[in-house]
Subunit: 353 residues, 2 copies
Amino acid sequence: MLFADLGARVIKVERPGMGDDSRTFGPFLNGRSVYFDFINRGKESIALDLKNDADRRCFEALVRKADVVVENFRPGTIERLGYSYERLKEINSRLILASCTGFGQTGPMSRERAYDTVIQGLSGIMSMTGFPEGPATRVGTSVADLTAGLYCFGAISSALFARDKTGIGSRVDISMFDAMITLLEHGVMEYVATGRPLGRLGNRHPYIAPFDTFQANDTSFVICAGDDELFVSLCKAIGKPELAFDELFLTNEKRTLNQALLKKTLETVFSEHDSSYWIERIGKAGVPCGAIQNISEAVEHPQVRARNMIVESGGLRMPGNPIKISGFADPKDRAVAPRLDADGLRIRREFGA
Amino acid sequence: MLFADLGARVIKVERPGMGDDSRTFGPFLNGRSVYFDFINRGKESIALDLKNDADRRCFEALVRKADVVVENFRPGTIERLGYSYERLKEINSRLILASCTGFGQTGPMSRERAYDTVIQGLSGIMSMTGFPEGPATRVGTSVADLTAGLYCFGAISSALFARDKTGIGSRVDISMFDAMITLLEHGVMEYVATGRPLGRLGNRHPYIAPFDTFQANDTSFVICAGDDELFVSLCKAIGKPELAFDELFLTNEKRTLNQALLKKTLETVFSEHDSSYWIERIGKAGVPCGAIQNISEAVEHPQVRARNMIVESGGLRMPGNPIKISGFADPKDRAVAPRLDADGLRIRREFGA
């Protein structure tokens, strides 16, 4: 989808009959999978049976002219189909073959099946998400799927750039598990620095305070006072300038050490007004803060609108392209996701197969 | 860091005196910021005061030869320093100027300050993370920072590839808020399909069951039975083949509708053994499942080791590079993050400034 958004021609090769599994994933709208339509805009579709000789010739004709083949079979599957990287390279030496899998092409777990939550569990991110007194918590979106896809996009783009110098293609191997290890951030930092795993901290930052959610008299909101100066501004903005001179809160180190007391002190003040009152006051003082929005508030937000981050495709609203590059189009309307084999006949003719 | 990992020469331009703020971020080990060292491996450092004429000449000499300038000032700041994209383009028409900010270069919130948790709150991801009866929950890592960085990496790589065709550079504009909107997935799907925001679902999938965490007699573990076939395999593996024929659980739609009852039924079975027993049994049956590991278990995992996903830099262990491309080195040891201005003298000489 990202490549199609940037103007690449993307041909989705699906199995005949059912097509991509995700055509059957909910939610549905007017009989179409919203899930499928979200992530397949701007693509063409051809149904190919890679065990049928005529269809194999067509696939090979596509490979001959392609810059990139992306696949996410379990490791070993494309090899069994007779399309190892070595074989594809014989067909097209400039080809980039990118594989995006749960565990990668190598290692003891390489051939295990993986879904997003399995990887979230193994990666440690669930052990860091949630509250100290509560259970390990899944990130509320398929962050392992999505991050692996993002790495894959960047890796392919880099491989294309490299190919312009070397003249030959390459093999890209991205794994969801690898990708999640790189997202753990303070979790790994704390572990290598102290030998102890960092557990769940709720909504607060491990090393900065106040950098957390705070309860006002209606709902919670976010304050991120990342340094001493911002803390002084915060104290003034809420009418408690003396807090900034309290021995217990003088430095970020002290505030982090005494964060529970600081939070209680601040929430006593915040209980006097609702969150929108505090967000306006604190924001005006230049201290980063904000509401905890639900999805409808986020999607309808003026900044999201101004950035064209909700686009339309076949009458369906969906997230836009966050990659804004001068000279690349960023239209409001996007080509709709294809029906199965919608472009099959035309593609077969075009590639003479 | 990703570009340095792929072999690019990366020169970090820092303000004299303090350098990058993140040099002061905890945790610390042997007097060095682990935070800074994690994300600056393989870079060179030069301290430049962009308000000093000699230093400006040096900066411009760097720009003249650079492929890419990456900056994350608030919008308006580089323009005030006299280095708008238009000006930089005059110095080097092939330059790619990439800006990575909280809200992007345009829109009503463009100039607001943002930290990760502010963006998490605004984006809606916190409203989707956590349990229905519990509070909105921060993803336990700086997912907005990191995702924006990943989009920036991919966007720059794409812009470099495009430049090989057009001969001219471009302006890349990435925002944390935009990036997070693209991660909301089922949240936005459900909202556009039904008009209602999707709330917090705990650890379960909104449209697939069983796809959740389950309590064994010691701890919780993950099962992702993504289709009917996997559900049948699961029922057999746990010695309850009759469950697969229960009218209430016959299809994924029914299992999702009755997921609370299904979870209770499964957990009654799981209470008889510990999670490792069940993970082995269920995994052997080919059903995706796994432990909820803490950070030390994740970091020390054999698959992580086999994929070289923990590397060393200056004696410090840190996450490796998940971008595995044939022909690109993926060494165990990485060059250490630079001291402030460590390469300043040499760079000034080299660029004749």
